[in-house]
Amino acid sequence: MAKACRRTPNPPSSGSKIDPETPLTAAVTEDQHRPDLRALFLGFSSVGLSGFGGVLPFARRMLVEERKWMSAEEFNIQLGLCQFLPGPNVVNLAVVVGKRSRGVAGAIVAPLGLLAGPFAIVLLLALLYDRYGSLPLAQGMLRGIAAVGCGLLFAMAWRMGAAIRDKAFFLPFTALTVVAIAYLRWPMPAVMAGGLLLAGGVAWWKLGRR
């Protein structure tokens, strides 16, 4: 899938080597895939409104497969920073795509598109909740959703944990985090700073041994 989006391979050239990535090709590609502000807003709106329980897969489909604003490789590289930094990954990603396409204006419009629709829907639901939230039926429904949502969170934690390599070294830090956050109720900024120093230190040491 990643390969399909790459530039076409070199034609078999005879004689001297020719750089296949001439400025001309690059410019053309960029122009084709550079959305304007309207397209940015609408594209990210569609992502925001179609995603339930995590919109990242929808963002990938829109950016890479449907509208081809970036290649699969570019997507992975950009996503790297968005996941490296804290904060909502998908919002970060919208900022990056917006900036690359249309500078500051794009970096504002893309996340706005992502959030505006869902923001309105969520507020509508909040109004309904204010009005009917205390009814037993609504309370029951929300309890049922919370139970399932909670199960989904455990599943997500399980999957994230399963993806960690060197479990013997790193999963103890998961346990420590749970104790500090869920049982001791320590403030998260402090826990994260300390945890990152310790776990990051172990990772640093392990990287050095390779």
Partner: protein, 173 residues
């Protein structure tokens, strides 16, 4: 000035939101329910449930909390606080990302933060389970949803949420 307070609290949280808003659930609960007592336990869990059932990025649970604490201004303040600081940072950093991607310190942070994020999500799950006021059947629903979600990966989670809502309406949660 409750809106300003809300903005500052959530802006601070955005700097440690490794793993997104989901990982922040325990800390938001601590700040909003325990420290400031802006919301009670049940309301907090209800807001989480509403956010689960709505489309859009997970971060919108923050919008709901802001709304409940301080109306429309609160909703805007909380959402902006959560998104703005990192957006600005990422805007400034993206051009240099490729030069420090793959460096040893960058890899160490990525590797080190992963187990912490798992712990945060796990903590959020226990916290929601504990404060949802579930019946015995409701408690059974939690592992059931987790197992079904892990086992049938093609089944969209929305179906599970719909099933949970239906069971809840029927008085079985």
């Amino acid at each position: 000035m409750i809106v300003l307070e809300l903005f500052l609290e959530f802006a601070l949280l955005s700097f440690v939101a490794f793993g997104g808003a989901t990982a922040l659930l325990p800390e938001m609960h601590r700040v909003v329910v325990e420290n400031h007592q802006w919301l009670d336990d049940t309301t907090f869990t209800n807001l989480y449930a509403i956010a689960q059932a709505a489309p859009g990025p997970n971060v919108l649970v923050v919008t709901l909390i802001g709304w409940k604490v301080a109306g429309l201004a609160g909703a805007l303040a909380a959402t902006l606080a959560m998104c703005l600081p990192m957006s600005v940072l990422i805007y400034l950093l993206i051009d240099r990302w490729e030069s420090f991607a793959g460096k040893r310190w960058q890899q160490a942070v990525s590797l080190g933060v992963a187990p912490l994020a798992v712990g945060l999500v796990f903590s959020g799950a226990t916290l929601i389970a504990g404060s949802a006021g579930l019946s015995v059947l409701g408690w059974l629903l939690v592992p059931l949803a987790a197992i079904v979600n892990l086992h049938y990966r093609k089944l969209h989670p929305l179906w599970l949420i719909a099933a949970g809502a239906a069971l809840g309406v029927a008085g079985l949660a």
